[in-house]
């Protein structure tokens, strides 16, 4: 049953307006989409990062649900503890209602510094959803490269220089790393396809055991584009097959949206200032390599889906 925008607009945002996110912030849109599904009986555990900083400047908070932030690398461990306490107190009859536990972190807090805590929590099988809002760099500290930063991207620690043309490594495929834990539900989503994203959140929260959603979250400041283009850029990432929308449910891959006529990845790259240097003649090979990798990964995903049928 698809979500109805008209109905959703009547609900009070649980991620309240008034927070200090930049204009056109992709992650802030993602927060609202997640919370619209999760509802009020939800505890959010947050990692240090953009969304933490902009949403809870004391004495204000944008969170209309219980929220706990402890540090950068441990959102999964903290929510493990909250969930363990819930189980213990429920057993003792001190609490009865069903509560959703959601850990949220950026790509820095997930792909890099938090991957150990995430892996441990997945392996232990806590009943929680982990959402990574992937804006592809350490935006909170001022656009430094992360394990999620794509090939060729300019960041302040992988600057496009005269000798080195931005980041020289491909990004980690975190969704597959997580799926390899054999958890019941892992997915990739984009705020441009909000219904798909929200369906995935719903499914993830209904899952017994750990669930994970990796959400592409364009950042106008770090990707160097104009703030009104956030959703367009997110959509292009899907339509160029850079960011496939899919899910892995009980080990089975399913692509949830297949662009009828995929666009060349160049169309996504050219919209963003962080890739501008790639269009110089001497760097064109990076775009070709980028396209090759995107094709290869899409083909692999198709094969995984076929093998799942």
């Amino acid at each position: 049953m698809p979500f109805d925008l008209k109905e959703l607009s009547k609900e009070k945002d649980l991620f309240a307006p008034g927070h200090r996110a930049c204009a056109g912030c992709g992650p802030a849109i993602v927060m609202r989409q997640i919370m619209a599904v999760a509802g009020k009986d939800t505890v959010v555990g947050f990692a240090t990062g953009c969304m933490e900083v902009v949403s809870t400047i004391f004495p204000y908070t944008a969170w209309r649900v219980p929220y706990i932030h402890v540090a950068f690398e441990n959102a999964a461990a903290v929510i493990s503890g909250v969930e363990a306490a819930y189980k213990a107190l429920k057993r003792k009859g001190k609490i009865n209602k069903k509560i959703n536990f959601i850990a949220i972190a950026g790509d820095g807090g997930t792909y890099d510094i938090g991957i150990q805590a995430l892996s441990g929590a997945l392996e232990r099988g806590h009943n929680f959803l982990y959402v990574c809002y992937d804006n592809q760099a350490y935006m909170n500290t001022g656009i430094q490269r992360s394990g999620a930063t794509p090939l060729g991207a300019h960041t302040t620690t992988s600057p496009a220089g005269d000798v080195i043309p931005g980041k020289v490594q491909w990004r980690k495929d975190l969704t597959e790393i997580v799926a390899a834990h054999g958890i019941p539900y892992a997915a990739q989503a984009s705020p441009s396809h909000w219904n798909d994203l929200m369906e995935k959140v719903k499914k993830a929260l209904e899952t017994e055991g750990p669930a994970f959603i990796n959400v592409l979250a364009p950042c106008p400041v770090g990707w160097y584009f104009s703030p009104e283009r956030t959703i367009k850029i997110a959509k292009l990432a899907v339509d160029t097959l850079f960011w496939p929308l899919y899910e892995v449910e009980n080990g089975k891959h399913r692509i949830t949206y297949k662009p009828r006529k995929p666009k060349p990845v160049e169309e996504w790259l050219k919209e963003q200032g962080r890739f501008r240097h790639l269009f110089q003649e001497k760097n064109r090979w990076i775009i070709e390599e980028f396209q090759r990798q995107v094709n290869e990964r899409w083909e692999r995903l198709l094969r995984l889906e076929e093998a799942s049928l």
């Binding site: 505890v43 706990i68 441990n74 461990a77 903290v78 363990a84 003792k92 209602k97 150990q116 441990g120």
Partner: protein
């Protein structure tokens, strides 16, 4: 009450079983591993109703403890050395969020070089993290203090670490008087927690960004909680004594009243040093001892009261603070006595690093040097006892 032969690890695990915390999140590390192992067996055998979270690191252990305590659970863990060091970042957060978590900590040297044996460098490294620190002289005290710690933590809304010396206590069997399960349950009562993130009808935000306009006030409040902790520790120690016959305070003075020369010591070495004091007393020498049971909050009043009129004081440090000025306990005691107008001279003896044995004869040598100093002989301010150099 039952009499059992237990190591400190077994005794602390037994205390945890009787406490039956809501959540234990822990990771194995020598020499504290057995605590986690024993507790896992209690869980497996249905002897506790605890939710046991076998985490993938000590950082996650403390992080999960924070999450669980913020959800209103009674929470415990155990660790040692590198494990406590790995928790370092989150120790401060547990304290600042005012969460009553208890750690059973087994003292072990910090790397490098890697070593698994006793010294106090690990917990000294966590001295400024906002945790109450209680050091045990023997396994009985470790057991008793773990039970008291839960009550102290829940009254002060500050986390507490109870320590026992690695191997010397953790792996040595001693005679322990174990309380009845019901006695422990009654002594502790229902868990008291400051707030909960599980009340979704009254949502709260825990751990917000706190800038120049409020951070200082929050830190000031945390410091005030620590300042107010000593009477709570004393009250709980007294109540424990009234119920079970073993009384505990902030410090443990031994034959100190009429002593002219005193040593200050922490942990299991106090037992050895008390023997030496007895021997010296038999020889007619006015020797005494002050054992620091609590290091944080620093029992300043007790330091002054017990040491102000001594002729000479020797501070025994089982840690090297790398200050270039002596060990960490030495600088604390020295600072504590600054307010005494004609404070006695203080000498520092760093000993026992990495589990190096400290023998009664060596403590006797320390006393001899201190008596020499009292008689006017010049001795070095900072000394290393039992090292080859």
């Amino acid at each position: 009450m039952k009499i059992k032969a237990l190591t400190a690890n077994e005794a602390m695990a037994e205390a945890m079983r009787q406490i039956n915390p809501d959540v234990v999140a822990a990771y194995p590390i020598t020499p504290a591993t057995e605590i986690v192992q024993h507790f896992a067996s209690f869980v497996a055998d249905g002897l506790v109703t605890t939710e046991f979270v076998p985490v993938e690191s000590e950082h996650s252990a403390m992080s999960a403890c924070i999450g669980a305590a913020a959800a209103g659970a009674r929470v415990m863990t155990s660790t040692a050395s590198q494990g406590l060091a790995l928790m370092h970042e989150v120790l401060y957060i547990a304290a600042a969020l005012r969460l009553p978590i208890v750690i059973c900590e087994i003292n072990r040297a910090l790397s490098a070089p890697i070593n698994i044996h006793c010294d106090h460098s690990d917990t000294f490294g966590a001295r400024d993290s906002g945790w109450i620190q209680i050091y045990s002289e023997d396994s009985q005290e470790a057991y008793d203090s773990v039970i008291q710690a839960v009550k102290i933590a829940e009254e002060a809304f500050l986390p507490v670490m109870v320590t026992a010396d690695g191997f010397i206590l953790s792996h040595a069997m001693q005679r322990i008087e174990v309380l009845e399960d019901e006695e422990v349950k009654e002594f502790l009562g229902e868990p008291k927690t400051p707030y909960t993130v599980l009340d979704t009808d009254n949502p709260i935000t825990v751990g917000p960004l706190d800038l120049q306009d409020y951070f200082f006030e929050h830190k000031r409040q945390e410091a005030e909680a620590m300042r107010l902790a000593p009477p709570i520790i004393e009250k709980v120690g007294k109540e424990f004594g009234e119920r079970f016959g073993r009384y505990y305070g902030l410090v443990d003075p031994y034959r100190l009243e009429d002593a002219e020369v005193a040593v200050v010591v922490m942990g299991s070495t106090a037992g050895t040093a008390k023997e030496v004091v007895d021997k010296l007393r038999e020889e007619g020498k006015p020797a005494g001892l002050l054992r620091m049971r609590v290091l944080r909050p620093l029992p300043l009043k007790e330091i002054v009261e017990n040491l102000r009129d001594k002729k000479v004081i020797g501070v025994m440090d089982r840690a090297e603070g790398m200050s270039g000025f002596g060990g960490p306990l030495y600088t604390e005691i020295r600072s504590g006595l600054y307010d005494v107008p004609s404070h006695p001279p203080l000498y520092n003896y760093i000993y026992g690093l990495g589990g190096r044995d400290i023998k009664p004869e060596e403590i006797e040598e320390i006393f001899k040097e201190l008596f020499d100093a009292a008689a006017g002989k010049e001795i070095p301010r900072v000394n290393y006892k039992g090292v080859r150099e």
